[in-house]
């Protein structure tokens, strides 16, 4: 059996208590919410924290409040199932609901939280394996080894960001609240990530991601498209989130395009967004943006299916997402029809 390594378990009731416990336990401690990412990693001995601070009992992290006019505050501890099923969020921020409902499986979404998904460990075929498997190939630099087995001459780790909700939330301009025993700060979600497979989060020691803030919907239409082998279970091997503000004359006023699983961090395609601004979503504009996405998506050979296929599908997914939004705008909807 794959069993968890031993640890001490702490169960704070408030965020303040959780932050204090994390600070006191120091580098040996990790916070855990749903556990759907951390526990498999611990069973494979990719992570062996000596102290776990369980956030499950922190009621203030499961609050959800707001409106499309004022924006939303999402507790990091709300489950992906609850996020995906929220009717008002689905209406006003479809990309978030589509991304949340595409994560893993229904059962895992009942357990996993949005904060946990934003912090999900980067993944690689040479890393997400049992201890024995990794030992047999001499380990990699992300855990226990010295080199990157995908790119052996590379000085860095290329493990891939495998988070569905981050691109969707980033495209909608979300920010996050980070709380530690010493301070509290709010940063743009994009600032949470680093382009490094190992040190992929810009969290300071002891910081807890406590809340996600969505700005007012304010005419933004959005959608999320995901590539994976199976219709369930699989992490993204590519994802495209697009958010657009389209004027009455069908001209795109503002755009954001963010990719999942195309780099070690959720990738914001800034130039593609600039190419959309001031244009109508005509076939030639969509094709030009798709070419730009094809250029910036640089998958490496470390996840499912071939990297050339994944790169080519970046073009296809962004075309589909833009067409979804063009149709939605023409028919007065927001984003992809639920379940489509």
């Amino acid at each position: 059996m794959l069993r968890l390594p031993a640890f001490e378990y702490l169960a704070p009731r408030t965020l303040e208590e959780a932050a204090r416990m994390l600070a006191e336990a120091g580098a040996a401690a990790l916070p855990v919410a749903g556990g759907t990412d951390l526990f498999p990693n611990m069973k494979r001995r990719q992570m062996e924290p000596r102290v776990l601070v369980g956030l499950r009992g922190v009621a203030e992290m499961t609050q959800l409040s707001g409106s499309a006019a004022q924006g939303w505050r999402l507790g990091a501890g709300i489950t992906l199932a609850r996020l995906a099923a929220h009717p008002e969020l689905r209406q006003s921020y479809p990309a978030v609901a589509l991304a949340a409902e595409s994560v893993a499986t229904p059962t895992l979404r009942n357990m996993g939280t949005v904060g946990g998904n934003l912090c999900v460990d980067t993944r690689c075929n040479y890393y997400n394996q049992s201890y024995e498997w990794r030992r047999a190939i001499g380990f990699c630099m992300k855990r226990d080894g010295d080199i990157c087995l995908v790119a052996p001459s590379s000085p860095r780790c290329w493990a891939v960001s495998s988070c569905d909700t981050a691109p969707a939330l980033m495209a909608l301009g979300a920010s996050v609240r980070l709380v530690s025993a010493r301070e509290e700060r709010v940063i743009a979600l994009r600032e949470l990530y680093r382009d490094d497979g190992i040190d992929y989060l810009a969290l300071k020691p002891g910081e807890i991601l406590s809340e996600i803030m969505l700005p007012p919907a304010d005419g933004w239409r959005s959608t999320y498209r995901k590539l994976r082998r199976r219709g369930s279970f699989d992490f993204p091997i590519l994802g495209v989130a697009v958010a657009l503000r389209i004027g009455a004359d069908a001209i795109v006023e503002q755009a954001r395009v963010c990719l999942a699983a195309a780099a070690s961090h959720p990738l914001e395609a800034v130039k593609a967004a600039e190419m959309l601004a001031g244009k109508k979503l005509q076939p030639d504009v969509i094709a030009a943006v798709a070419n730009e996405i094809f250029r910036v998506a640089k998958p490496v050979d470390n996840s499912d299916l071939t990297l050339s296929y994944r790169k080519r599908m970046a073009r296809v997914l962004v075309e589909r997402a833009l067409r979804d939004l063009a149709e939605a705008a023409a028919s007065g909807r927001n984003g992809q029809a639920p379940g489509a």
């Binding site: 968890l4 556990g35 498999p40 893993a104 229904p106 357990m111 369930s232």
Partner: protein, 172 residues
Amino acid sequence: MKSLITLQVNGETQEVLAPVHKTLLEVLREELGLTGTKHGCELGECGTCTVLIDGTPALSCLTLAVEAQGREITTVEGLADGPAAHPLQTAFAELGASQCGYCSPGMLMAASALLRHNASPSREEITGWLAGNLCRCTGYLKIIEAVELAAARMRRAGAPAQRTPNAAQAAR
């Protein structure tokens, strides 16, 4: 270090002395002898360890037993009403929806939550709801048909879609 863990399993209070790093799956099978819940991948990739926690499907392999305290846990052993099998169990047996049977406990628990939530699920809703449970025999069609048959029988009988053991005892 072991700690005293108090669990509500199938309507009964159970106390076990177990280390805090034990999963609910390990405690159910190894401490409480409830081996109906199966261990498959143990990494959240198969669904066969699915139990209900407060009526919601959850993976017991990725839930710490300490975190399941104070919550109502239902395993496949708690699905039947005394000697009477749950309509889902009857339908699974009649339609051959259990081949090797290893995925059946997880399928039954997930499906029982579905039928409580929705008495008349469409085929698409059934496949969507069971999308976290793998059947290595690939006998999905019979499983889906069994859920449909059980749902139809339960609608006819007007029975509550899923009874907790406590409610069943109170009704007797």
